[in-house]
């Protein structure tokens, strides 16, 4: 029982971090929040499946990649482009926050309707996974800065990760490690591209990227 209590606490903190990212304009704070979310996710497999080799290794890997390395890359990117705040998002912060709450409410309501396995009806895993995925999408759609879009992508990936905890027995460790590595390399390349965008356009707003169209 204490294990599921821990898991639920972790999942609730994931949702709170989602809200924080949706409502905050400070990029550094958002990156730190995503780092904390990564650490929370690292604890999740252990909290759900108990102490076993698989969940320990997965947790450690997640801690290194999602908690330390990827946020580190993003912080470095932000230092190079010298941009601190997300100015003038397409949709205001209050509105995004409101939409985020709506998403969370819908996710919790819908999760009851889904044909879940008997063991998962009580847990928060599925609704929190859905909330995080859709919050990531919201962040992707409503922000201008390339860096915030990367944060949205990371949040989306985190949501998928939470869903994957449900079936960690089906996923060999090698595949999970590969997925984390791919994510890291992806963020690394995105960081480089962001830097190039800044060098060419002296901004990292993706609004400038509109030359290619019909």
């Amino acid at each position: 029982m204490s294990e599921s209590l821990l898991a639920n606490l972790l999942l609730l903190s994931v949702i709170l971090i989602n809200f924080f990212c949706l409502g905050s304009a400070r990029l550094v704070a958002c990156i730190r929040a995503i780092a904390v979310q990564g650490v929370v996710l690292a604890l999740l497999p252990v909290a759900v499946h108990g102490l076993c080799a698989h969940s320990l290794v997965l947790g450690l890997g997640t801690l290194c990649f999602k908690g330390v390395l990827i946020p580190g890359l993003l912080l470095r990117a932000i230092r190079e482009v010298r941009i601190r705040r997300e100015m003038e998002p397409f949709v205001g912060f209050a509105t995004t926050l409101f939409l985020g709450t709506l998403i969370a409410a819908c996710a919790f309501l819908c999760a009851d309707w889904l044909p879940l396995a008997a063991a998962h009806h009580e847990g928060l895993l599925v609704p929190v996974a859905l909330t995080t995925i859709f919050s990531g999408f919201l962040l992707l759609m409503t922000r201008r800065k390339a860096l915030t879009q990367v944060l949205g992508y990371l949040m989306l990936e985190n949501g998928i990760f939470i869903f994957a905890v449900l079936l960690s027995e089906a996923l060999p460790l090698m595949v999970e490690a590969g997925m984390l590595l791919d994510l890291l390399v992806g963020i690394f390349i995105m960081g480089i591209v962001i830097n190039q965008i800044r060098r060419e356009f002296s901004t990292i707003s993706t609004e400038q990227l509109t030359a290619l169209k019909e």
Binding site: P115, V175, D182, E200, L212
Partner: protein, 475 residues
Amino acid sequence: MLIPLILLPLVAALLAVVAPWHQARSLLLVVGSAGHLLMTGVLLAQPAVVGTPWLGLDALSRLVLLVTSLLFFGCAFYAVGYLEYHRVRGNRVMVPCLLVFLSAMTLAVLARHFGLLWLAVETTTLASAPLIYYNRNRLSIEATWKYLLLCSIGIALALLGIFFIGYGALVGGVHPVDLQLDALLAAAPDLSRPWLHAGFVFILVGFGTKMGLAPLHCWKPDAYGEAPGLVGALLAGGLTSVAFLAILRALQLMNAAGDGPLARQALLIMGLLSMTVAAISMVRQPDIKRLLAYSSVEHMGILAIGVGMGKLATFGALLHLVNNALTKGGLFLSVANLQRGYASKKLWEVRGAIATLPVSGTLFLAGFLAITGSPPFGPFMSLFTILRGVFGQGATAVGLGMLVLLAVVFVGMGATVLTATQGPAVQLDTPYQDKLLVVLPPLGFVLLVLVLGLWLPEPLVSLIREASALLEVTS
């Protein structure tokens, strides 16, 4: 034998990273791809290859492997001449990325585990992003960013779809839950239907983004337009085929679960939409590379329709996969020569190509005739087969719609291509002329397509027949 096939390009890539000379790196590219093609040939000659639970070689992967390896070999050859032109920009990034790209595509083709398949396809995205950015200007940054972000998100959705299928197995009481293809196929009837259907849709959307099916194609014209021609050829012929294979794996699963008709319907709808969107965008298209990108969207749509109809049309679609990849190779490489010569890819500057750059201009025209399905080229045969399959099943509306769209594409593409190729010679400002190294690969591709139109080798026919049997309901 399967693992060395994946490792060979990877080793060549590592060597290229440490190799200190320009020529050595270019040579490694050719050696790596030639070795890959050779090993592919040896593998395909064997009637049965012993696989592992992770890697295997069924008829579908044989077909895609053959296409990818052949296309990559031609492009690697072309790359030597191309990189020689751009010595200043160097090939320190280009060559390793190309080789890693080949390795990842091979892994995706051979993968028998959905997790591994996903991993490999995601790696192809990462390896190809620096290739699209090769020209290092504002436009290529924009194209790279769109490609990277959209494809990463698409692929993330495909991963979610794979997890949905895994969860469907969990809910359906399959034990142990395994995402290995054969295990899933065996357990398919027990999978929980809602999760399986949701999983298929997500996989279709995810890998469909990668493949460039409408309405998920919006990165495609930008990326193909700004990437170097040989990268465009590899994306349009190789990567799209690999992404299509990933969708076919999900279709196999739906078939095994008895829900094939639903999956086919989804493919059919997306295919028709892709053809329509492409046809509309190709009319009066002033940019010859974007024109090719939309042509790629169109042909992905044709593949989806063919498989969506099933039976004879599936056979036609798989044959079309081969024809499309080779023709796209010839088209993109010849257009790259034109773009380099004219220092432009806009219709108002590219004029009189046949008189100015005779070989590349003629190849462009021939490639256009081939891809729009004119006899005697290969795509004519495959399109004809697909249409016969469509009409044979009584889907007259779909068949007529396809015919109309093909006609629109022929006229739209023809207007652009004829304007670019016909007319008096133009004085070029650039020193680039048709040279053997950059003309031979597209010539080879166009000749191959011509041969495939006149004569289909028996082994290829039986391979495609086997592959399409995998996509039919077997029970």
